[in-house]
């Protein structure tokens, strides 16, 4: 995947809780929660990004 992306690691609890997250770690793509509570595999991340781009 050759994409220009801005990746940010968020530690601030208040910022984290701006998303509907119950367990960490969580992944947010384009301000939408993609997954939480687990470390997704590379394939899963690819699928998340693809579906986020399709929207």
């Amino acid at each position: 995947m050759a994409l220009e992306a801005n990746i940010e690691h968020v530690h601030d609890m208040k910022k984290i809780m701006a998303y509907p997250i119950l367990s960490t770690p969580a992944l947010v793509i384009n301000e939408k929660l993609a997954c939480s509570g687990k470390v997704p595999s590379a394939d899963e991340v690819r699928a998340y990004i693809t579906s986020a781009l399709a929207q």
């Binding site: 609890m13 208040k14 984290i16 809780m17 509907p20 997250i21 119950l22 367990s23 960490t24 929660l33 939480s36 509570g37």
Partner: protein, 354 residues
Amino acid sequence: MAGNVAQRTEKSIWNGQSYRRILTLVLGLGLWGLVYYWLQPAADFVTFRVLGLAADSHLGSSVAFFLYDAPKVMMLLVLVIFGIGVIRSFFTAERARSILAGKREFVGNITAASLGIVTPFCSCSACPLFIGFVETGIPLGVTLSFLIASPMINEVAAVLLYGMFGWRIALIYVVTGLFIAILAGWVIGRLKVERYIEGWVLERRNSAGEVAETAMSFEDRVKYGLNAVKEIVGKVWPFLLGGIAVGAIIHGYIPDGMLAALMGKAAWWSVPAAVIIGVPVYSNAAGIFPVIQALIEKGAALGTALAFMMAVVGLSLPETIILRRVLRWQLLAIFVGVVAVGIVAVGFLFNAIL
């Protein structure tokens, strides 16, 4: 007719590959049972025949203990972590929240503590979980029941207790852990201390959005269980082997009853002392276990040893520090205090009845 249709659709989902995987699973479990059954004779054979050690010598008794216990505990651990992993794949924090939403306090505490056992949860998620529960209107005490039960009833500790002391003590540990979580959460709920939750958390109330859940197939759940085994057993095995080695040395060399005067039933103050020492000490269940075993075997009362273990495993300093972000220190102190009192009570109870 309707049944036939249902069967046919199910067949199309269960293809040959699924059958083969299930067969592998069943065969694996059978093999597990067979090996487990032959562990004791194999350990004795290696110690007394192959190594030629005398059964009544210090060394012989230590080596036989280690050769039997180490594989036994590892095998139990793999099986139980796998089983719990599969069960946990049915539960998510989101599902726990939707089950708890709208529950009244007492029933809510019981449900929350039970869900705390089966919901996969790491103490690093204590904050988002706390906020997520409270903002949907789940009472503070019910939320805390969940947060207490989750680390208190530790599956690794339960397996170790079963492996070393039998199912009765493992059951006592699980049931009393559940009891403390229910009661401590309920007591804190009665105290009406919501004002000690950090302000920014309360401002968010009722703003929770629904989170979509993804469906899992049976194979996904098996995979989830195997991942749990890889992760947890991979993390604890060095502690475990080290711990069992220490336990084996104590088993062979230290005279029985040595600790009876200090930590026996007669010394009532040893229960609160064990909890006071145990709260700031933080260790995983595997690391603390050799200590517990040594204490019990050499004359410490069971209630005292269990209280120590619960204080170490259930009340951890890192989790308390994490929770400080959402709870003011007054509430945090009440939280630690109520749970500690509960653990002391359990210690006394078991010293009295066992």
